[in-house]
């Protein structure tokens, strides 16, 4: 059974701080790793990673995948209150898309 573990489960920081969210996985027939941001109900797509060592970047968010050590990180620099959300990591493998429990990030003004 495919497994995705995210850490920390919750994180409270101040505006302007930099945060790193972690995602480790065990999956059969790995195809890709995806990051989503969930604010209210619908997760919104952030990144898809398939190759090790290639950083994906979008504004203040960036992510990288290590297929040897089976993990990914999501970095957010210069955090803003609008970054407060649950960040979900998901891995596509033999069992389809398997999600972690998410990291609940709270940015305090």
């Amino acid at each position: 059974e495919d497994k995705v573990v995210q850490s920390p489960l919750s994180l409270v920081v101040h505006e302007g701080d930099t945060v790193t969210l972690n995602c480790s996985y065990e999956v059969t027939n790995f195809r890709s790793l995806l990051w989503y941001k969930q604010e209210k109900k619908a997760p919104t797509f952030l990144f898809m990673l398939t190759s090790s060592g290639i950083e994906k970047k979008s504004g203040r968010l960036s992510s990288i995948l290590d297929k040897k050590e089976l993990f990914s990180i999501l970095n957010i620099t210069a955090t803003q209150t609008g970054d407060s959300a649950i960040y979900l990591c998901a891995v596509l493998g033999a069992d389809g898309l398997t999600f972690g429990k998410g990291t609940h990030l709270i940015i305090q003004p």
């Binding site: 995705v4 195809r31 890709s32 995806l34 989503y36 109900k41 619908a42 997760p43 919104t44 797509f45 898809m48 979900l88 998901a90 596509l92 389809g96 898309l97 999600f99 972690g100 429990k101 998410g102």
Partner: protein, 112 residues
């Protein structure tokens, strides 16, 4: 970017009642998914359609849950009868390019 519309947005029912959710792709998407997200958990796949055929329903509790996709477009998910543990957000998603999945706004179900 075109996505999916879901209805209703909220539903409250009593246990043992039946409920149905609708997913309406705004533009044609061959692959469609239903997920269940219980509070504090990540979404869990219930069923995957490719056009109007089922690709994977291995995690669908078939004794009470059913789903269909009409003419490869709209889809419905039904629960009959509902249990307390079915309280969750039900998300419909469509498959984009290269394994990406995009989610609709979801339906929040509360079973009392």
């Amino acid at each position: 970017e075109a996505g999916v519309a879901q209805s209703p947005r909220y539903k409250i029912i009593e246990k043992r009642q039946s409920v149905a959710f609708w997913c309406n792709p705004i533009s044609g998407h061959a692959t469609l998914y239903w997920y269940q997200q219980i509070l504090g958990q990540g979404p869990k796949l219930l069923i995957q359609f490719q056009n109007n055929g089922v690709v994977d329903d291995s995690q669908l509790p078939k004794d009470r849950f059913s789903a269909e996709r009409l003419k490869g477009v709209d889809s419905t998910l039904k629960i009959q009868p509902a249990k307390l543990e079915d309280s969750a957000v039900y998300l419909c998603a469509w498959g984009g390019a290269r394994d990406t999945q995009y989610f609709g706004p979801g339906t929040r179900l509360t079973v009392l």
